[in-house]
C-alpha cells in the first residue's frame, strides 16, 4: 500500500513538474478559470484590508508644490482642457477614423476585482467570465491609464496580467506636462523606451542612454527627468490605446552592468494591485483584438 501511494505521489509530482517546467504555460489555462469561487471570502477580506490599510498607512502624495502654484496650474489646465475639448470636437467631425475609434469607454465593461495574485506575481482576479465577452489578451484600463491585459479567462473568473508583472513588455514614449504648450504636454525626443514590468508595483526602462536623462548636463535637448510621464506607444496594441498612461518616472540611476545606460523606474499613478474595479476592453472589433493577441505572443 505504501509503495503504491509513493508511486502515485511521484507520478503527481512528475506531472506537476512537466506542467510547470516543460509544457507551455498556456496549456493549463483552461483548468484555471475558477477564480470567482473565492469571491465570497476574498471580496470582503479585500474591503476590510483596504480600509485598514488606508487607516494605518494612508496613501501619501509626494507632491511638494505650494497650494498657490497648484491653483494657478489648475486654472491653466482648465483653459487647456476647454481648448482640447473644442479641438477634439472639431477633429471628430472632420476625421472619419477618429469617429470610428471614438471614446475608449464605449469599448469597455466595468468589472469588480475579487483579489490579487496569491503568489509572487503582479496580477488581479476579476469577477468576469467568458460569458461576459471577456477574452484572452484584451486590454484592461482605469481612468488613470493602462492596467494590463487579460491573461486567462474561464467560466468563473478571469486573471489580469498587470503592466508591473515581471513578464510584461511594451514600448512607450516620455512626455512632460507643460501647460504653456497648446497641446498641454511635450513628447521628449528620446530613443523609444522599452517598458518592462519589474514586479512589486514598478516598471523599469533600461534601454535609455544616460545622456538622454538629467543625470548628465548636456544642454542640447530636453532630457528625461523624475516626474516625467510614460505613455503607451506600441503599434502592436489597439490604436485607440495609444497615449494611455503607464506611469510616472520615480527615479533615474546609472545601471550597474551598463554604465552608459540609465535605469529608470516608473510607478503607475495608482497602486494597481489595490484596485477595486477595472475596465476591460471587451467590445473590440476582431482585427484590433487580434492585434493585442499577437502582442501577447511577442511578449512571451
Amino acid at each position: 500500500m505504501r509503495l503504491r501511494f509513493n508511486t502515485v505521489f511521484a507520478a503527481l509530482l512528475a506531472l506537476a513538474f512537466l506542467s510547470a517546467f516543460v509544457l507551455p504555460p498556456q496549456l493549463g489555462n483552461r483548468l484555471r478559470g475558477i477564480q470567482s469561487i473565492f469571491a465570497p471570502v476574498s471580496r470582503p477580506t479585500r474591503a476590510v484590508a483596504s480600509a485598514a490599510r488606508n487607516k494605518i498607512a494612508p496613501h501619501r502624495h509626494n507632491d511638494t508644490r505650494d497650494a498657490t502654484d497648484v491653483k494657478v496650474e489648475n486654472e491653466q489646465l482648465r483653459v487647456v482642457v476647454m481648448s482640447l475639448s473644442g479641438q477634439l470636437e472639431e477633429l471628430r467631425r472632420v476625421t472619419n477614423d477618429l469617429d470610428k475609434l471614438g471614446d475608449v469607454r464605449q469599448h469597455c465593461t466595468r468589472f469588480k476585482v475579487i483579489g490579487d495574485d496569491s503568489g509572487t506575481r503582479d496580477s488581479l482576479m476579476l469577477a468576469a467570465s467568458s460569458r461576459d465577452g471577456v477574452r484572452e489578451a484584451q486590454p484592461v484600463l482605469t481612468g488613470h491609464g493602462l492596467v494590463g491585459m487579460i491573461e486567462r479567462v474561464g467560466g468563473a473568473g478571469a486573471q489580469v496580467r498587470l503592466i508591473t508583472d515581471r513578464d510584461f513588455k511594451v514600448s512607450g514614449r516620455f512626455v512632460r506636462f507643460d501647460p504653456k504648450r497648446k497641446e498641454g504636454e511635450q513628447t521628449l525626443a528620446t530613443k523609444i523606451p522599452l517598458v518592462r514590468g519589474a514586479g512589486n508595483g514598478l516598471l523599469v526602462i533600461d534601454n535609455i542612454e544616460l545622456r538622454e536623462t538629467t543625470l548628465t548636463d548636456d544642454p542640447q535637448k530636453e532630457k528625461v527627468a523624475v516626474g516625467d510621464y510614460v505613455k503607451l506607444e506600441d503599434p502592436l496594441w489597439p490604436p485607440n490605446l495609444t497615449g494611455k498612461l503607464l506611469g510616472q518616472v520615480e527615479s533615474i540611476t546609472q545601471q550597474n552592468g551598463a554604465p552608459q545606460h540609465a535605469l529608470i523606474k516608473v510607478k503607475p499613478l495608482l497602486d494597481l494591485m489595490q484596485l477595486r474595479e477595472v475596465m476591460v476592453m471587451n467590445k473590440l472589433e476582431l482585427n484590433t483584438a487580434q492585434t493585442a493577441s499577437d502582442k501577447t505572443e511577442v511578449t512571451r
Binding site: R2, F5, F9, L12, L13, L15, A16, F17, L18, S19, A20, F21, L23, P25, L27, G28, L31, R32, I34, Q35, I37, F38, A39, P40, V41, S42, R43, P44, T45, R46, V48, A49, S50, A52, R53, I114, G115, D116, D117, S118, G119, T120, R121, D122, S123, M125, E151, Q159, R161, D165, R166, D167, G199, N200, G201, D271, M273, Q274
Partner: protein, 166 residues
C-alpha cells in the same frame, strides 16, 4: 483527516490570501506573508504522512489556479514543503511557537527556492529579496496563524500515526 474540513480550510485560506495579499505588503522588497503555506505546514505536521502529502499537493494545485505562475509550480513547491514538514513531525513540539516560527521560515524558503529556480529556468526571474523577506514575514505571523488553527485542530480528526509496516 476529514476531507470536508480540509476543503473548507483550503477555500478560506486561499480566499484570505487573494483578498488581503497586497494590503499586507511591507518594505521595499514588497514582502507579504504566505497564509496558504502556513496551512500546508499545519496539515503536514499534524496529519498522517500520506494524507499530509496529498493535502499539500492539493493546496498547491488550488493556489496555482489563483496565480500567474504556470500550473503545477506551487503543487511541487508545497509538496516539497509537505515532505520537509512531515519528516519533522517526530522531532518538533507541534504546538510550540518556536516550532511555528522555524517551520514557517524554512518551509517558506523551500517553496521560495522552487519559485526562484523556476524563474531562472523559465523566467521571469523572481527577486531573491522578496522571497527571503516574505519568508521572514511568514515566519513572524506563523505563531498566530498556526496557533489559531491549533484551536480548531479537533475538527480535522487527525489520526495518530502508525509506525511504518516495512
Amino acid at each position: 483527516m476529514r476531507l470536508t474540513t480540509y476543503l473548507i480550510l483550503v477555500y478560506l485560506v486561499i480566499g484570505l490570501q487573494i483578498g488581503m495579499g497586497d494590503f499586507v505588503r511591507v518594505g521595499a522588497s514588497g514582502a507579504r506573508p504566505d497564509l496558504v503555506l502556513l496551512a500546508v505546514v499545519f496539515i503536514a505536521i499534524n496529519a498522517p504522512r500520506d494524507a499530509a502529502l496529498l493535502g499539500a499537493f492539493g493546496i498547491g494545485l488550488v493556489k496555482d489556479v489563483t496565480t500567474l505562475a504556470p500550473l503545477g509550480l506551487y503543487a511541487i513547491a508545497y509538496s516539497l514543503v509537505g515532505l520537509f514538514a512531515v519528516a519533522m513531525q517526530d522531532y518538533v513540539k507541534r504546538a510550540h511557537p518556536v516550532t511555528h516560527v522555524t517551520l514557517g521560515f524554512f518551509c517558506s524558503m523551500v517553496a521560495g527556492a522552487v519559485v526562484l529556480i523556476h524563474g531562472w529556468v523559465k523566467g521571469p526571474t523572481a527577486p531573491f529579496a522578496e522571497v527571503f523577506w516574505s519568508a521572514v514575514y511568514t515566519a513572524l505571523v506563523a505563531p498566530l496563524v498556526l496557533g489559531a488553527l491549533n484551536l480548531v485542530k479537533g475538527a480535522f480528526s487527525f489520526r495518530r500515526r502508525h509506525p511504518r509496516a516495512y
